[in-house]
Amino acid sequence: MLSEPIHLDTDVLVVGAGAAGMYAAIAAARNGADVILVDKNLVGRGGATIMAQMTVAAAVGEQSPDTWEDHYADTLTAGRGLCNEQLAAILCEEAVERIWEMDGWKVGWAREDGHMKQVTAPGHSVPRCVYVDFLNTGPAVARCLRGEVAQGDKIARISGVGIIDLVVQDGAVTGAVGYNQEDGAPVTIAANAVILAGGGLTGIYRRNSASANMGGDSYALALRAGAELVDMEFVQFFPIGHLAPRLVGMDPIMWDPFRYKLGGRLLNGQMEEFIHNYGAEDSGKYTAPRDITSFAIVQEAAAGRGTPHGGAWLSFEHVPENDLRDAFGPVIDKLLNNGIDLTKQAIEVSPIAHYHMGGIRVDGAMATGVPGLYAAGEAVGGANGANRLSGNALPEAFVFGERAGRFAAKAVAGKTRAWDGAAANDALDQLAARGGNGGDVEPGPEFHGMAKELRELMWDQVGLIRTTESLETALARIQSMRSELEALPAGAAAGFDMSLRGWYDLRSSLLTAEAVTVAALNRTESRGAHWREDYQQTDPALEQTQVVGLSGDKVEAAYAPLERR
């Protein structure tokens, strides 16, 4: 090591500061814990939350009568028999409290005639999804929670620190090691509980709707600390991600709320409706499930019936301009600035990696099998089974975040710090050797190409349509990239050089990619978001979860019974 690391000490460390991480920090603090909340970008401005434009499912029953049990039933149906029923029930029941709590924090849920406005997203039996106008749900949620985490002095927020390893002593997590992005200084943080809230993995796919910091960090940190993952084969491809013409300054999944409010017609390259040929109904009503719609768009394009860019047409040409303006106000002008006049032209859409159903295996307290290690939000696996219901991602962030913070704070109350600095030495030595800590290692640009290669590989071989051959091809290449990467220097971090971060991000992405591929190879059926060209039927015997763990360097998957209620 070149110098002593900067050391901090806290009861609860939260890694990742989107909605789940911020809610976890709030809950841990109000249950008595001192909290450090770190994000490798800016607190409350990165991750998936800030990108979410709509919608939040919760049975508040403001628009029409509803119960959380109905929400739960819809969640299980969407999950294709594979939901962890305990987690799904917690999600649906407690979403109601969280929505009201955030209403009290003035998040600004859209209202009419004194009640919250709720819309029907695909797969919901009643209008259940609250939102913030116009296409502003994620930013409003992030702003609201940023305001709450800034209250009081129990939560210390740190922007620009990347966590690269958890510190494990006698099988329990006691803290973490990271680096400061600005100057590359090594950082150690002692904590009796660590909550992983760094979101999902969609950044490992070529077409994705993720922030740049969503490359599977949480899963890799959990695996390497000895925790298990579940359901890693189930990556949700959002069916109507924006494809063309070029659109900037907007979320690529923005057509979702347009369809909730206005319908819109989904057409193939020959201007014909086609979803009905794949066992679902669309016809301008947007009720077809995400997995079926994604699959249908890809198959139409493969059959030569795609749009010029290889997707499908989405048309609002039949919707009067006044209706467009009533529903989306200033967004219509933003679109015009992008050269898109919805009254005159259809736009091209196609599937885009959007969310990960799988994730870290936890119990109802959001605790992993490793003492001291918790998870929250999209990083958690199981609640959404093989296909997530629209609108369940943000309530999952709120509910699981609140639980992780609360249970972690209670577990560490009154405990003395178990931290022994010697347990962090391996990670610190490796960080220094790879170029952190202002070391004299030259940046190693070799691995930049590898990150791009991984995104292409995952998209082509472990994407919407999978075969034994494609998965084996991907697995072999991922494994060789893992060893190639180990041999390459990372580069400096000083002066905001992102080489060091790029190296550690890629290490996480490769391990996560291997977990997805191993699980996908092992699931010899088609179900929900997992489509196997060589196993097209759903196999009732595989109505089980798949548990993924690390054995030495090797990722292993095995089936286990589902958590029933």
Binding site: V248, P308, F496
Partner: protein
């Protein structure tokens, strides 16, 4: 995959840290109409010079607000400023402490690692 032919434009980017005399590197950037300045900067990092320091998180959605820079001497978001066929100049914000290249210190004071180290001293 797109059939649209790419054009080439010239992007001048300020390089260097707080103690350096700023210099400008010129890049010949291939682009499709509608592409953003951030697209060009990400392309430069990916395919030409991975040491270029830039800040961004949300990738062209104008949600994270991290990519604020000066484009042709006007403060703008790199993710919504469009590339033009005319040469363009990108510089860091002038009213924030320069870290390196296009990155300035925009972290709120209380969220700095150094500030937290101070307040958490026992």
């Amino acid at each position: 995959m797109s059939g649209i032919e790419k054009q080439i434009m010239t992007l001048r980017v300020q390089r260097g840290g707080p103690d350096d005399t700023p210099r400008f590197d010129e890049f010949q950037v291939p682009y499709e109409p509608g592409a953003s300045v951030l697209d060009a900067l990400v392309w430069i990092r990916q395919d030409v010079d991975p040491t270029l320091a830039i800040r961004y998180a949300c990738v062209n959605a104008n949600a994270c607000k991290e990519c604020m820079v000066r484009v042709n001497d006007k403060v703008d978001y790199a993710c919504t400023a469009r590339l033009t066929s005319e040469p363009m100049t990108v510089e860091p914000l002038s009213n924030k402490r320069l870290i390196r290249d296009l990155v300035t210190d925009i972290v709120p004071p209380k969220e700095q690692l150094s500030a937290v180290v101070e307040t958490r001293k026992k």
